[in-house]
């Protein structure tokens, strides 16, 4: 069983690995420290191991690591961090769509895939999109609500970005050659706030997140997680 060099590009980071052929993408990701990809059923029933593979949500337990060679992989942790969560992650926290949390990374990934395709999904489209993700705690009600909230926040963010862009463009038109830095800080709204932090990066939610704690040796900021939970109640 000869090993082979495989390149996994995860959350914008490139990992050159030498892997056995029988390693699933799920196993490879978890061994790399991407433990936000959960190992649930390993038979494609639960969706806890869902990741984006070149933009498509798939069960990583069903994919051989070699089959993902060179592909762009995004996990839940790649969408945002505790300090700067993705609007989808924020919506899940704010609505209380998380109880034990085991299904959440997969739910977030399926939600991302849905909202990339359909920005304003109906409830049935949401249920359809999450049909491969099982939750044994919440009864799905709050999860659906979280997706709806995320959709409306992302919509607001897009409008804010569009407003910034048109401001910048009118600024560039009148001050040709000058830096249009002011425009990116002016308007209010969630998108604008994130824009100020993110600097010049686009506000698409695709911004590359730092590698997982297991790789950098940083301790997970659990206290922040707890505080966030406390704020809600």
């Amino acid at each position: 069983m000869p090993k082979k060099k495989t390149v996994l590009r995860v959350n914008g980071r490139q990992h050159e690995l030498v892997l056995d052929p029988n390693v699933s993408l799920l196993q490879a990701l978890r061994d790399l420290g991407y433990t936000d990809v959960k190992n649930g059923c390993e038979i494609g029933e639960c969706g806890a191991c869902a990741v984006l593979l070149d933009g498509t949500a798939v069960n990583s337990c069903m994919v051989l690591a070699w089959q993902a060679n060179g592909a762009e992989i995004v996990t839940n942790a790649g969408l945002g961090t505790l300090d700067k969560p993705h609007p989808i992650q924020e919506a899940f926290a704010d609505v209380g769509a998380v109880q034990c949390g085991y299904c959440t990374p997969g739910m977030v990934i399926s939600t991302k895939a849905l909202l990339d395709r359909i920005p304003n999904p109906s409830e049935s489209e949401i249920r359809e999109a999450l049909s491969g993700n099982l939750c044994r705690c919440t009864g799905y009600g709050q999860i659906i609500e979280a997706v709806q909230l995320a959709a409306s926040r992302l919509q607001a963010e897009r409008l804010a970005v569009a407003a910034v862009r048109s401001l910048q463009e009118s600024g560039e038109a009148s001050h040709r050659g000058e830096c249009g830095d002011d425009g990116s800080r002016s308007p209010s709204g969630p998108g604008a706030a994130a824009g100020a932090v993110a600097g010049s990066r686009p506000l698409t939610g695709e911004n590359v997140a730092p590698p997982p704690a297991a790789l950098t040796g940083e301790a997970a900021p659990r206290d922040q997680l707890l505080r966030r939970g406390g704020e809600r109640r």
């Binding site: 390693v23 390993e42 494609g44 089959q67």
Partner: protein
């Protein structure tokens, strides 16, 4: 759970893949992996060499010619769901795809894999049977085409030889008036295996007489089958409730559920009656190319 040991080969062309399948003993193709990965973990399938055909260009894409629709074997269920060609010419197949497992599985599972696995509860098989589809098998010895009805031999058994790869499935473009319908009954709305699948395809003339009828069932017999006697009972007749009821009852006769699942006979009959009535009504309104 660690997968059992195997060697994985990733041929870059169809020719290389066929060469491996013919020369390497105990080799098994993998595409979406939604069946094989489960079977290998469970230990029910232990290929020595796994041949990754998912990325082979020749196995992808949905095309339409003047007379036929051709679907590459590694086309995913999700791709079929979004295909304008299938929406136009094979709504019955799109309907089957929409009830297939769940969104995550649909993004990986392929039509070729679904047919080659030949599970009794395949959702694409009954829909493709009503389209009178045939599969194309390739090997280093050449190509051959086999009607899907013949290809599906028994539960988990097909006419595919170990050195062959299913490369595409094709069917003639249905007439502009032909109308299909599909229904799956499972334990849940989504993410479940079929307890019963019924698919129908009817065509008729201006007088309301049935000119062609195809009915297929899955999960109620060892493998998806056509209900030929029921079809014969429709052709040449006016599609009135009595005729439809008789055909539905004959459809149930084509079913052969396992002991303890006799209820499926009644489900098949009821679904067949409803779907035939739906398709007859749509035909009456001019047909929908479904």
């Amino acid at each position: 759970m660690t997968l059992p040991e195997f060697d994985l080969l990733q041929p870059s062309s169809l020719g290389d893949a066929l060469k491996i399948l013919s020369e390497v003993k105990d080799s098994e193709p993998i595409a979406g992996g939604t069946n094989l990965m489960v079977d290998m973990r469970a230990g029910t399938h232990r290929p020595r060499v796994v041949v990754d055909v998912a990325a082979l260009r020749d196995l992808h894409g949905i095309e339409v010619t003047d007379t036929e629709v051709i679907i590459g074997a590694a086309t995913t269920i999700a791709e079929m769901l979004e295909s304008p060609i299938l929406a136009k010419h094979a709504a019955v197949l799109v309907k089957a795809c929409s009830s297939f497992a769940n969104t995550l599985i649909r993004n990986r599972a392929t039509v070729g894999g679904n047919l080659v696995t030949a599970a009794p509860c395949s959702d694409t098989a009954p829909a493709l049977l009503t389209l009178d589809a045939e599969v194309k098998l390739a090997s280093v010895r050449g190509m051959r085409r086999v009607p899907l009805e013949k290809f599906l031999v028994n539960a988990f058994s097909t006419l595919r030889r170990s050195d062959e790869l299913l490369v595409s499935v094709r069917f003639r473009i249905p007439s502009a008036t032909a109308t299909g319908a599909f229904r799956k009954m499972g334990l849940r709305k989504v993410s479940c295996m079929a307890k019963v699948d019924v698919a129908v395809m009817l065509d008729g003339d201006a007088t309301g007489r049935c000119t062609s009828a195809r009915i297929a069932i899955a999960a109620a017999s060892p493998v998806a089958v056509r209900a030929r006697a029921a079809e014969a009972a429709l052709v040449g007749k006016l599609l009135i409730p009595e005729t439809i009821a008789a055909a539905a009852s004959l459809t149930a006769k084509a079913a052969a559920p396992r002991a303890g699942s006799e209820y499926k006979l009644r489900v098949v009959e009821a679904l067949a009656r409803r779907l035939l009535a739906e398709a007859a009504l749509a035909l009456d309104r001019g047909g929908s190319n479904a």
